[in-house]
Amino acid sequence: MQTLLELAIGYALVCVLVAMAFCAVRLLIGPSAHDRVLALDTLWMCGMLLALVLGIRFGTQVYFEAAILIALVGFVSTIAMAKFLMRGELIE
């Protein structure tokens, strides 16, 4: 059963990495700027989930704190970029 858990963790790592690659492709080829912002937001979320899966893999709680920091910074940066796209400036 532990082998099954290790296989599942490997599958989850590969899936999240492929998802990050898809987001990176959309970030590079995105036709408009809001496509790129959306792809970057999804890339932040996939990075957070990758940190979570790595935390399960190595069995430490350190990755949890990395995940919560990535979630916070990703939210703030996405809001800042979307507001910049809408208004052309951040602080009015």
């Binding site: 099954l4 599958y11 959309r26 496509d35 912002v37 996939c46 957070m48 399960i56 949890f64």
Partner: protein, 133 residues
């Protein structure tokens, strides 16, 4: 802190199932972000990644650490509540920016005018701040 070897079989099975399910959902959402044709359809891909995929992985992490450390470890709930609070805010902010930019750039085929909720103004408004067409 004993590692994977200390997890009993009755806990390893649901953790593995939740991991596989969450990872597949995450991959589906990212594939939707990559493959869907227009921006307003592409908005729906990451929503499933953030809610269902992240929910499954956070549940798996909670279950794993609860069994591994033999105590209740539920501080992944912080991330879950934060994600559930901020995902609609992010989606609405990006979507409002996209609608605003599409209307201002006068793209008639971008989908921003679907349902006749927003109309493209008759003449371009040059006085709008940050205008780029």
């Amino acid at each position: 802190m004993k590692g994977i070897e200390s997890i009993p079989a009755w806990a390893a099975l649901p953790v593995a199932l939740l991991l596989v399910l969450g990872a597949s959902i995450i991959l589906t959402g990212a594939l939707g972000l990559l493959r869907l044709p227009t921006f307003y359809q592409r908005m729906h891909g990451p929503a499933i990644t953030i809610t269902l995929g992240a929910g499954c992985l956070l549940l798996a992490s909670m279950l794993y650490f609860t069994v591994e450390q033999s105590r209740l470890v539920i501080h992944e709930l912080i991330i879950a509540i934060f994600l559930l609070l901020t995902a609609p805010v992010v989606a609405m902010t990006i979507m409002r920016a996209a609608v605003y930019r599409d209307l201002r750039a006068r793209k008639h085929d971008a989908g921003a005018t679907a349902g006749n909720v927003y109309v493209i103004p008759e003449e371009p408004d040059d006085s709008a701040p940050g205008r780029r067409s």
